[in-house]
Amino acid sequence: MFFIKIIITLNYLIKIISPTFYPYYVEERFSSCEFKMRKKIPLLIALVAMLFSIMLAFENVPLAQSSPTIVAYKVVGSANLANPGSCSFWSDIPWVNLSLTANIPNAPTSGLTHYILVKAAWNGSDIFILVKWPAPNPAFGAWSAAAGALYPSATGPGLFRIIELMPGTTYKLLTNCTSYVSIVNGKSESGRLAFSYKGVTVLAPNGSQIRVLSNGTILFYHSLRPMEYIFYCNGLFYGYYTNSTWYYPDRVAMMWYMGTGTPTMDGMNIGGKYAGQVYDGYNLSVAGGSFKMPGGSANIWMWVSGATWNNATYDPAFKVHLWANESLTGLPYTDPDCGGFAVPLYTNNTNMYEVDCAGIWYNPVQSSGLNGSLFMIRTGAKWCNGYWTVEYVRSLTVPSNIAKYEPQIALNTTYYVAFAVWQGREGETLFDKSIVTPFVTLALSTASHPTPPPPLVISPTLMTVTVVGVVVAVVALAIIWIVYRK
């Protein structure tokens, strides 16, 4: 009855306000002056609706969603990080398959991981995120460049990145630049390197080092963040170079959107060390790693096989007990659990930061405080049958000083998350990676698992919902037909 009354009222309202649809009605009731006034009502409503829309946009009121992509189920027990994904509760939770795409579409070393599988759970105090992705050639033994920089004796693949310039690029040594020194094929020469590709010329900074392969490919050594930006923006960046002894570690990162409303961009800028950096005559307006979404910020949980994987055989950082050595890390604390972890990062429109006070990978977000923050996100990882499996565990709540940079996770909230994967041996390096195109939604549920698969092909829940849906749709159509019949 209530529904019918609403429809009748709406019908009446439409009759009253619409001279177009019911002119006879209007002519009877209103004078010509009133009629003119009434004719302006549509415009008035449109303007009010437009203001309403703009208000919704400015307030970032989330538009109604179709469904959350990832549901974290309430489970009993805790994680077994020694063998990620082995806890019995995981078997009741289905994988969510998220497609990944290339971060740099034209680079042959980008977008090589096509999907990542995700599960989520929580137990009242901690949240567990389980991810799995195909990696036929794991990057065992590769130092993370930042972790390797802390350890003076670090040797092995992946200590610093090498850029492969676009095929067809040529170089020239400008010998009239006598104040410059360049290294070509291991030989130090006086002069400045200039690279040309399809009419675009890029001048290299002092001390640049290149190697030219037999097929003409130019490798640019020890690339700095500004050089990546300069090459990329001038169309000379082809990809990162890898071979059997030179590769980046494998990585996975989970991003949590920390801004308000619905985020529209999950990408990061390529740029300098900081916004406004002037590097060898080039002005870099944005910082590399800064968040692209205007006004947004995000927390990132970064796991690196060459630094944060608790494996003394294949992770060089754990092999040398790097994280137990305060004098090397520069942190006033060590990891109490001596286990794997994920590096907490924080990105906003200004720059990318590390949520600790040492700044091993990126600038520290604060100069003091934040004790223990580097080891708060626990991880367990394993590589088996061509797949990496990484399990993240973090307490749902974090101390208030860290909550500025990491989300407090609670029921009744929808979180926007994104994932990125790097396969180092395949060439995926730094900003050259596989990434989830849009943010996906994650929400905590009080159910322990989704409805178990029934013996029928069609789930009974779906069947019930469909049948009820059909009945209600038919009833609604019948009511509308009766109301408008006449």
Binding site: L10, I14, S18, T20, K39, P42, L43, I45, A46, A49, M50, F52, S53, I54, L56, A57, V61, P62, L63, A64, Q65, S66, S67, P68, V71, P94, A102, N103, I104, P105, N106, Y232, T264, M265, D266, G267, N269, K292, M293, P294, N412, T414, F431, T437, P438, T441, A443, S445, V465, T466, V468, G469, V470, V472, A473, A476, L477, I480, W481, Y484
Partner: protein, 311 residues
Amino acid sequence: MSYIKIFSIFLAISSSLAFLFEFIFPISYLPITFPYEGLMNYLGVTGLYMEAVFLGLVAVVLSNKVRSLLPLGIALLVSPSLNLIHNYSLSPYWSFIEIVLALLGIASLIEVTIKSNRRSLLFLPTLAMVTLTTYAGIDTIFLHGDLAICYSFIFIASLLGVIIYAIIYNKIISKRAMMSYIAAIPGLFVFLPLYFLVINNRFLEIIMNMVIPSAFGIALYNPYNLPILLLALSVSIYTILLLAIKGNGYAGLGYFIIITTAFQAITGFHLLLYLLAPFIGFSILNYREIGNERTIMDDLKKLVQRLSLNT
């Protein structure tokens, strides 16, 4: 000005801005910057909200002719307040509301078709396309399935019907018609340059293979269909302009809404807006034909009468 006219003008502006948002969104993750990106992002987001509100208003106003649009319009208008209900999207009630709305939407497609004249039969491929993409979305959300079909050819089938409609609308050959054919040519140049770029440049083809499907939601199961999709998009924008210049801006607007939203279903709608927009767009597409001349319903009645007389 009538309600439908003024709301349609605002809807046209907002759907153009929303399309801008759809285009910026997928390329935003690339390390590419373009002038006024932030401003365009804000404009695009505002357009998306405006599209939701004005589609709701147009649906309510159009419900005078197409009854089953009323619940869809109300659903869109009240949808921002759903955030007051925590975790509404996790609830099975929400699932059932989605199915109800999808069914009502499909009912609206049928209702508007039978209430229109025979020219609307040219929109049957579009009707099939919207129904199919809606099913694909439902399949993705509730069954976690993936309806792998060649969407670009379904789009082309739909476009053919709309092209024929655009040509026969008003007069095929007249002074105004000839001017319309010429004046709409700039519409071709929205996507045609991309076509010429990708057929000769593998690098740009790879980029556009990601950008275009992400912008439209369309899944290109055969990536080599990209040039033909770009051609179809060029022709569709031309047809939309042609319809508008020939005097049926509603049909142009309706088809624009359909092509920019219908394929978002393939990846699970994401927003309620993308579930409902193609249905409302289809009614706008048919607007000029509703109750105009002899309707398909009249034909059906006559057919039933003949059959009953024969028996």
